[in-house]
Symmetry: C2
Subunit: 402 residues, 2 copies
Amino acid sequence: MTSVSVRSDELARALPGRSQRAGAAKTSPVRDLLALTERPEVISFAGGLPAPELFDLDGIRSSYDEVLRTRSVLQYSTSEGNRALREEVARRYSADGLPTSAADLIITTGSQQGLGLLATCLLDPGDTILVEEPCYLAALQTFALAGARVIGVPYAGEELDLEALERLAAEHAPKFFYTVPTFQNPTGRSHGVDARARIAASARRHGFRIIEDEPYRQLRYSGEPLPSLASFAPEHVLSLGSFSKVIAPGLRIGWIRTTKDLHPTVLIAKQAADLHTSTIDQAAAAHYLLSGRGEPALEVIRRAYGERRDAMLAALPAAMPSGTTWNSPDGGMFVWVRLPEGRNAAAALPDALARDVAFVPGAPFFAGPADERTLRLSFTTYEPDTIRTGLSRLGAAWGGAG
Amino acid sequence: MTSVSVRSDELARALPGRSQRAGAAKTSPVRDLLALTERPEVISFAGGLPAPELFDLDGIRSSYDEVLRTRSVLQYSTSEGNRALREEVARRYSADGLPTSAADLIITTGSQQGLGLLATCLLDPGDTILVEEPCYLAALQTFALAGARVIGVPYAGEELDLEALERLAAEHAPKFFYTVPTFQNPTGRSHGVDARARIAASARRHGFRIIEDEPYRQLRYSGEPLPSLASFAPEHVLSLGSFSKVIAPGLRIGWIRTTKDLHPTVLIAKQAADLHTSTIDQAAAAHYLLSGRGEPALEVIRRAYGERRDAMLAALPAAMPSGTTWNSPDGGMFVWVRLPEGRNAAAALPDALARDVAFVPGAPFFAGPADERTLRLSFTTYEPDTIRTGLSRLGAAWGGAG
């Protein structure tokens, strides 16, 4: 006898499910991992947070106090964002060799929103895009929500494999290539001047756009500044910026430097997303930048992070198994480590946590097949002594296994 | 001879265009209109902005000053949002007869973002949804960006046509019905208790969700509070709230009261959208609400808006052509006006602007065929004397035409 379920008119119908694109998105495995590292005794190289003791709390507070003398900061504002703030960001781009006007910029609620807006404006479900392999995790999440087919462009050693980029662009006609060109998350890698020129030429040749995401650009501790990708292919490149790493992330202020053809579309998407970014936070950020306190405060951050990077690089040789390799980034927040053959970073994490030290395995950052030997270490959170203590714990954790 | 364009390998390929969904979105015609009303001599009933002179600037400023004593307000935060803020919002729902815990709530960057997140979580391109006809314009824009097929549920007089809702739900199997149940924008209409019960029953019977958008709920100047739609069908209703009309819009703080089944999906969408809403603004809003200054400040707003509504309703009979009808809302910001047969609101606007008075024609608010005789008047912007002056200008503008 078969059991038949009869739908009575009296019974409620099942609720409609979530959208297909929502079904494609997953919580960040790194966020889930970070929950495990929250015991205060853990020295965590897993996070990607700026060091709060370096925030210019007094300066920022006084900017809020100043702008909150004016009633208009409590009112609705334009979707483009605060004019003085856009002018100051434009001035900085122009001084950096990339002529920019306030009209090219749209303020966003952090650069994460910038990513989402560009995905909305450029992607229909099933469209193909290229990313660096490995790639910033929250970008992968955003592209998954947009229903994109994501293909990773591999690295050849420390350099992006530009021949692979050419081949994949020819084969897949991607809508865009997403890159964090300077001090990338998770690898700390930067594309050199020649690589930038060739990436831009590839975009022109194959007709794809480039999204360059630059949250770390101003966190340089050594080496020479690199030109923006937008300066090589102004019509092809959309640039994302943020104050999260140079003022503070709590303000949630970023921006998109749009191309002329996309500006109206991005502006509509921004309006639909949240009408506009907090009027108060924008006004306070503009006031803070114009107060002249931003640059010395950033210099304090750079000096501290540079020392922390040096401490990590100096302590790594004694802490890592023989045959491990890593890079020496000129800035940013991360060092990318590759364990010797036969080791697996995720498998080693429980031993590390047992010794009160944490890192992020590299695997979740890969769009395609993962390199299980990789891991990401953040060097910005602790002072040099604590970094040394943490790395010596990590050294003990490798033990004889693997 | 045919002209053939040859693509040289040296020439750049055309850039990929914008996405189909981005192509479906348009700028708000109301925003475009508002640009015309910005001459200072125009008395504009077109806007939908809260009156800035009623913002509790001192109270809000002092809350920012207090929370900016703590470094953690400058740091990244959780995607759910500030715990104290969610607890306070939950307490208010529960006191209002809808048991709610902080875990049911996700803080959003204004309720506009809440709308976008729910569209992301629930809609795939081509899905059908129902809206009130006429409907809040920015919601129509958001649903267009999501690629939805939008069908308007008509009104029968001042009441939603509940039989039409039933029929359209049976015919189209919509994913959800979007409603502003209390003091709607643009009409100022509210669904009564019986209508709410029947809308909820319809959702259960036909298996659609309801999004109830409640920015104006607390702006009541007369009549009895109405129960939330969520109290009739807790598993079917997602509620959106906002502090934009009761504290100030510049903070961009709203929230989603989610259902259990959708909470994880909405949280991922929020994380992808902007990681989280400004840590500073959330902390300041929580501090302000808990300071006890919010309720008296809101009482000041209610009293002023109530007087302004009364002034408008008293002056309308002399100002409008004979045969015009309008409603008398118990709260909110808008009165909905219908001109006599043969009149066209948009056609009359240039005459009004020539006399330095403005309104919004009703047509853009319709998802389907528009009622060209309708217009929206906002009564919150000006004090009673100015409202009377503006309406007497409007009375002169109708002239003999039409």
